[in-house]
């Protein structure tokens, strides 16, 4: 029987630990999660964005309901665990459910600290902690005007900014003389205040609230100095308290938080604690980065993977208020034993301070320009010695420039965390770049979630990119798929996968396309990506296909079409030739021509004649119009040629029969030559096969079109089966990683030959790719036949109405 894990607290720390655990040991445990809130796990950090109107409630869900299902996790939302029976190893909820555990994780987070003031229980006095609070504020803003936020820290200011966005009149009450006094020094704090006042926020500093006034609902506050302020909404954001009630009543050792050791073990064997409720070496953290680190250590422990213990974290913060850039990390305050380097520019509103002790950077505060933030944060965590070059840390210096971001990245170890919010390590980002071909911050964000939450680590992520790819390899300008979205190909495809989007409409809705129905660029691209990711679930959207692929013929400049029947390997028969000739005469085809790919092209066909002509031909479509396999060009090979070493025609015909009708990012051309003389010009094709003595050479990424590119040699194989296996794997890898409209030649330049080789090297990877391509191929039907047979498709080829002028006038 599987061991049982119970997690109490369906929040950021607990669920992230479970996610890690599932990666390390997918089938080891039976998992049950209890959460008081009636929601799946969401990103609490982004409540500020929801309040400010920058994100919707649905955007902040991190693990939706189906995630729990997919991982066979039993989830009880709306249940608060009230009792732990340590002897029997069970927990019980307020609703009366019990569950057994072998290992129990307490991740109960924290509770907002409510000042015990007279009147604090009045209507209209709330905290800012969860979705419920957020909704309450948004609701209040509809009817009430005056809001007062108690607490001038991070949370208070973010709440205040959100309420301003909701058109409320907002005052912030702060007991200290300086805003964010736990993160900022006086200079930065003062600059912040000025900036927020410009945005319309009011401040009541050095004020101590005495009473909350009002009858049923709050009407104002009175301070200890006797002054008063009106208010019909009061938000308390004065701090948090680790939520230890359950642990305490269960006899688990607590101090401020639930006491844990470096392996997150509490005083009771088999019970662990992580997150804001836990206290490690005397510290209970209130930011996500440390919680993820704790979760990662615990996950390894539970998975039986060797790990060093949790050592505590240095934290950095960033204020998520638009138009204000504030960054703070480490020990930012001046002390007798510290010295600091400062830069202050009142004209630009920029202030930077780096605190140094014993030659090492231990803290930093940045205001106005926080681009140095991640670099400095890395130096703080690395404990880098800057003795003798203290000034260069901020100012740089001719001759000995400050270390570049990429150099700092080089010094980081692989498991060091780059994105604190989502717990993404340097190693994970490097992997995304190298293995998934990410080449922009946006693509990394889609792949790994790095920089997806507070965005503070964006510069650091960019540095990792530069470090891996070099300055030229990085896409600096963010290139969206088209004008409808800033998202790039990889982000969109990743979303299609992770959110199981199966129609263009869903994609455009969910990813907030600026044009509700897209444009001529993204519509065909989305249709392709959806079909690639969900071959079975996605219904091809004919209305999103470019004319040629909709009408299955190539539109010409005069609005007529060309028809190219399939002719496998460029091999035909007298019978087929006769039929083609007859039909060309019957339909008075103006031009009959050989194509560059060894096929016969009938040009100048009127649209309404197409279905009839296809029916008369009774041959499959040659796909001379599609983003698809066009042709496999062959030479005669050993069948007739005196130099031929292998059956080139036979090989080509097999390839063409196997891959015909396949949708690909752009057109794909193949060729097979019977010996290295290469008469079929295989080395300028997307996939070229050249026979050698006793085997075949496989070449990829060639192009004889717009930009001449010779192929790269992929590998040499012995048998025809292997040619089919490698070609299938190659095509599927291209289908899964190529951008719509990107030929293999551009694609291979973009992602690199080595990457392609690595992806295809292992037999099991090739098999998996072939499995997926076969699934797609199985579903393809001949489009000409389909149109001939279906009346409603066929009718679109003729005018709906035709009337002569005389009959009307």
């Amino acid at each position: 029987m599987k061991k049982k894990i119970v997690l109490v607290g369906n929040g950021m720390a607990g669920v992230s630990c479970i996610e890690q655990l599932l990666k390390l040991a997918p089938n080891r445990y039976e998992i049950t999660i209890f959460g008081s809130e009636p929601h799946p796990n969401y990103n609490r950090i982004l409540l500020s964005s929801v309040l400010a109107g920058d994100a919707g409630m649905n955007d902040i869900v991190m693990n939706d309901w189906s995630w729990y299902e997919e991982h066979n996790i039993t989830l009880h939302t709306g249940h608060t665990v009230t009792h732990i029976d340590k002897e029997r190893k069970t927990v019980r909820t307020d609703m009366g459910i019990t569950a057994e555990y072998d290992e129990l994780i307490l991740a109960t987070g924290s509770l907002p600290f409510m000042l015990p003031l007279p009147g604090a229980d009045k209507e209209g006095v709330i905290a800012f902690r969860d979705i419920k609070d957020c909704k309450a504020m948004m609701e209040a803003a509809k009817t009430y005007k005056k809001a007062v936020v108690i607490g001038g820290g991070l949370l208070g200011l973010e709440a205040a900014r959100g309420l301003l966005n909701l058109h409320m009149d907002v005052s912030v009450v702060h007991i200290n003389e300086y805003l964010m006094n736990l993160q900022l020094d006086r200079t930065a704090s003062h600059m912040l205040q000025l900036e927020l006042e410009k945005q319309g926020m009011k401040f009541l500093l050095k004020k101590n609230t005495e009473t909350i006034l009002g009858k049923k609902r709050v009407s104002g506050l009175r301070f200890t100095d006797g002054s008063e302020v009106e208010a019909d909404l009061v938000v308390m954001a004065v701090g948090i308290r680790p939520n230890v009630a359950l642990a305490k009543s269960s006899g688990i050792a607590i101090n401020r938080g639930i006491v844990v050791n470096d392996y997150l073990e509490t005083s009771v064997p088999g019970i662990y604690s992580i997150g804001e409720c836990a206290e490690h070496r005397g510290v209970a953290y209130g930011l996500v980065a440390p919680l993820y680190e704790q979760g990662a250590v615990l996950a390894k422990r539970l998975a039986g993977v060797e790990t060093a213990g949790y050592q505590g974290s240095v934290v950095s913060t960033k204020l998520k208020v638009s138009g204000v850039d504030v960054f703070s990390a480490g020990e930012y305050a001046d002390k007798p034993e510290t010295r600091a380097v400062r830069v202050q520019d009142d004209f630009e509103g920029i202030y930077k301070k780096v605190v140094i002790r014993d030659g090492k950077i231990i803290g930093a505060v940045l205001f106005g320009d926080i681009s140095d933030g991640s670099r400095l944060f890395a130096m703080i965590r690395n404990g880098e010695d800057v003795t003798g070059k203290e000034k260069t840390v901020l100012l740089g210096e001719s001759g000995t420039p400050a270390k570049s971001g990429a150099e700092l990245i080089a010094a980081m170890s692989d498991d060091e965390v780059v994105c604190g919010c989502n717990g993404v390590s340097k190693g994970a980002i490097v992997q995304a770049i190298q293995e998934k071909g990410c080449s922009s911050v946006g693509e990394i964000k889609a792949c790994t979630k790095a920089s997806a939450s507070c965005g503070g680590c964006k510069p650091l992520v960019a540095d990792v990119l530069t470090y891996v790819l070099g300055a030229e390899g990085v896409k600096t300008v963010k290139e969206g798929m088209c004008g409808c979205t800033p998202l790039g190909r990889d982000e969109v495809v990743e979303s299609i996968r992770s959110m199981r989007l199966t129609t263009s409409k869903e994609v455009m809705n969910v990813l907030e396309w600026s044009n509700p129905e897209g444009c001529s660029k993204c519509r065909p691209a989305l249709n392709y990506y959806l079909g690639m990711v969900w071959p079975e679930e996605h219904a091809d959207e004919r209305e999103s296909r470019f004319v040629n692929e909709r009408n299955h013929a190539n539109i010409q400049k005069d609005g007529t079409y060309s028809v190219v029947p399939r002719m496998y390997g460029g091999v035909t028969t007298p019978k087929d030739l006769k039929r083609i000739a007859e039909i060309a005469e019957k339909y008075e085809v103006p031009l009959v021509k050989m194509t560059g790919g060894q096929r016969i092209d009938l040009l100048g066909i009127k649209k309404e004649d197409l279905p009839g002509m296809w029916a008369d031909l009774d041959m499959p479509s040659g796909y001379a119009y599609g983003k698809s396999l066009r042709t496999v060009k062959t030479c005669v090979g050993s069948t007739f040629c005196r130099f031929g070493t292998q059956d080139a025609m036979g090989m080509g015909i097999q390839l063409e029969k196997k891959f015909e009708r396949l949708n690909t990012p752009a057109k794909v051309k193949m060729a097979v030559s019977g010996c290295p003389r290469n008469c079929a010009e295989a080395t300028i094709k997307d996939f070229g096969v050249v026979a050698i003595d006793g085997g075949w050479e496989l070449h990829i990424g060639g192009n004889g079109g717009t930009k001449l590119r010779g192929t790269d040699l992929l590998c040499k194989v012995k048998t025809e089966e292997e040619v089919l296996e490698w070609s299938g794997a190659f095509l599927q890898y291209y289908r899964e990683t190529g951008k719509y409209n990107e030929r293999t030649a551009e694609w291979i330049e973009r992602i690199g030959l080595e990457q392609v080789k690595a992806a295809l090297a292992a037999k099991e990877d090739r098999d998996a790719l072939n499995g997926r391509i076969d699934k797609t191929l199985d579903l393809m039907k001949d489009p000409w036949k389909e149109i001939i047979e279906q009346q409603e498709l066929r009718q679109t080829f003729v005018p709906m109405e035709e009337q002569s002028a005389e009959s009307i006038i």
Partner: protein
């Protein structure tokens, strides 16, 4: 002005188009995703591309030849390109779903 019967609303697929020929004039009839029907001349002002073959997005069509974007409400070509194609008033009989287009006589005779 002539009112001409051109077909039934179900004959056009959503976000697709059908062609109607009236004398010398070729008209492209579009069905938008909200179900409404628009009619413009089936001839792109750029190089005479068949607009009926373009991709329809909200109330615009993209010409299949060189991607000009045209507003189906009024036939106006969208920036950065310039121009205009004739548009026609469509009347839909709500009860029967039959479609009629209103066209000036001159247009029918010579286009």
């Amino acid at each position: 002005m002539k009112r001409i019967h051109v077909g039934h609303v179900t004959e056009i697929g959503e976000k697709r188009s059908r062609v109607v020929r009236v004398g010398a004039l070729e008209i492209a009839m579009f069905k938008l995703s909200d179900g409404s029907i628009k009619a413009i001349e089936n001839r792109c002002p750029h190089k005479a591309g068949k607009l009926s073959e373009g991709i329809v997005c909200d109330h615009h069509v993209f010409c299949p030849l060189h991607d000009w974007k045209i507003d189906l409400h009024n036939g106006v070509v969208q920036a950065p390109d310039e121009g205009c194609v004739a548009s026609f008033r469509v009347e839909k009989d709500e009860a029967s779903g039959e479609l009629y287009v209103h066209i000036e006589e001159e247009k029918i005779l010579a286009s």
